[in-house]
Symmetry: C2
Subunit: 343 residues, 2 copies
DNA sequence: ATGAGTGATGTAAAGGTTTACATAAAGGTC
DNA sequence: GACCTTTATGTAAACCTTTACATCACTCAT
């Protein structure tokens, strides 16, 4: 019962008066064991409260049923919903999940890599655009892995995300439809594929509308709130003001709104702003943010499904799965009329 | 090198031309092995890329150096900073940490409990006010555990948090100092100790100022944004309006602000609002929220320190560690003058 | 030269599983 | 009744470590 040391398979075997092999079979291949014996074993398990020692099992089997999810920043507002999708799908297939937090520290990433040498985890879900393992990854074998949200830079790792170009196109089309012609694009780092792709949507939208591109109102940043605020300052300094700000993500958009608010402007009366991601806060800031929604739970589900496929087949079915992002219209966009007049 | 199966201690032993026992000693008790041999072993380890199999090690040792952190909701804005404190402290003592997500599902909690039967983790950090293990916890042995943020209801588990009463007192004192006399208290569930304690601070503050308590403006909820919004509606329906809202947490406060905003009121001109926690959003909503800061990183650090102590000594040094919460003054509080006139 | 002590290394058992193989009993066929 | 098949169970090896104990070769004191 409530013993000091957990029951082992031998305890169960002794009580059920069978061998440990039979106990193991009763658990994992119940059809291979006589009804009467199975009953005895189940009773013994109930009495002892036995649960198989996962370490011993993995050690013997050379595999585990845990999936490791590695994220550089657990506080990322996108993280938790994706996680739910990942978890539900994993559970449905008998896998459990563990979360590792690297804080963008390669050393920590490396520690988690050891998990795979020990068979403590069977597969890897990566939330980061680059492998978190530094150079060692070259010599070490990579476990079966799937990237989420953004492609993984330096490995041939399949990933699940959203069609960034299409999403960005939806945002720019909305702004164009409202009548905006001077639309700034506030990006993060040019090295990120998401940036490149969203920028492509922006460029294509302008082009289709016959609006000539204006690189003076295309800025880079680092995707943080602070970076959005900074972009606003830059544009005011240069005196090249747009009528709308299309931002590479919601954090940047929030920063832009804070920056404009600090200068006394009203959104959407004076300027329109769009984001990308639809983080939970997007509803609660004021005005609420018009943005592009990432179907997070679905992304998580797909990513896990892909990984499980990888684990059983060994071959990646496809190397990139892009889901459809939706435009979420809220209150940060309106027609630019008054702006036009003022300037 | 880049072999298909990870190197074992035997591979290292063969290359270094020693026994596996010597390899193990060279790693864990380097002073017990001759300099020359240690050198050979280290070279062999470098060649093979050997890393010890954590499962085999834990199986043999009957303990691991992983700490499991179980949280019901990883999206909780309080979570990630605490986690950083936990991680840093753990790492400094040679422990790694793993995160389990229960989504408030006892079944999932139970799965993580199996971790301890398998020695996959040595200790437990709990982010939830009740044990996530359902009734089984009665029969099963609990691993060494520490609660974070709120006391754990049904176990004699030590915990690290903040002095809720003192924090609440600071908030109510600020409001009183600004001249408010009709101060609503918007709580979550009466079953939560944090509620009780913050309420105590509220009551004590009013009492010290000679303001008679008015239960008509003390409401309960569930601590969500929606719940704050709902509280505002209730007060308007009953026509028992306060001049200030003191909220049990920031989520509720944000909800209150949204609710007041929706009715066209300006904060802090028409009503003052305070929160508790200082979640990251508190800075970015407008107006920015005056609230009580939880020293999150410090809480995490202390909790892990306590757990590590538990692991080595077996005895909890103290059963409750309360850190000092600080008032963070922002822009959601002002004097009530105009309100008074209007009503 | 002997014996005790010291230091470095090797041998083998143990930790809790799973499973190939061996064994045994029972059932079916002629 | 002898033989083959099927079904149920047991035996023992393997997974990779750590470490108590044994062994061996020294050094040093007597």
């Amino acid at each position: 019962m409530s013993n000091s040391t957990p029951a082992t398979i031998e305890d169960v075997a002794r009580i059920a008066e069978v061998s440990i092999a039979t106990v193991s079979r009763a658990i994992h291949m119940p059809e291979k064991v006589a009804n009467s014996t199975r009953l005895k074993v189940n009773q013994a398990i109930a009495i002892t409260g036995y649960t198989t020692n996962a370490m011993a099992r993995s050690l013997r089997l050379g595999r585990s049923n845990m999936i490791l999810v590695v994220a550089p920043d657990i506080g990322d507002p996108n993280f938790s919903n994706i996680l739910v999708g990942l978890e539900n799908e994993a559970r449905a297939h008998g896998y459990g999940i563990l979360i590792g937090h690297t804080q963008n520290d390669a050393q920590r990433g490396l520690e988690y890599l050891k998990f795979f040498n020990s068979n403590q985890a069977a597969g890897l879900i990566l939330f980061t655009g680059i492998l978190p393992f530094g150079h060692q990854s070259m010599t070490a074998r990579l476990p079966p892995s799937v990237g989420v949200f953004e492609p993984v830079f330096n490995g041939g790792i399949p990933y699940v995300g959203v069609d960034d170009t299409e999403g960005a196109r939806k945002a720019v089309d909305l702004l164009l439809a409202e009548g905006h012609r001077k639309i700034a694009f506030i990006g993060d780092s040019r090295t990120r594929l998401a940036y490149t792709r969203r920028r492509m949507g922006y460029d294509a939208g302008l082009d289709a509308a016959g609006v000539p591109p204006d690189t003076r109102i295309v800025l880079e940043g680092d995707g943080t709130i602070e970076s959005g605020r900074h972009a606003v300052e830059q544009l005011f300094m240069r005196d090249t003001l747009p009528t709308a700000f299309m931002c590479v993500n919601d954090q940047t958009a929030i920063g832009v709104m804070v920056g404009l608010g600090a200068r006394g402007y009203d959104i959407p009366r004076d300027f329109s702003v769009t984001g990308f991601d639809d983080v939970p806060q997007a509803v609660f800031i004021s005005p609420s943010l018009t943005t592009i929604r990432q179907p997070r739970t679905a992304i998580g589900k797909q990513a896990m499904a892909l990984l499980l496929e990888l684990l059983s087949d060994g071959q990646p079915a496809e190397t990139e799965i892009l889901l459809r992002p939706d435009l979420v219209v809220r209150n940060s966009v309106s027609a630019p009329s008054r702006n036009w007049l003022r300037r």
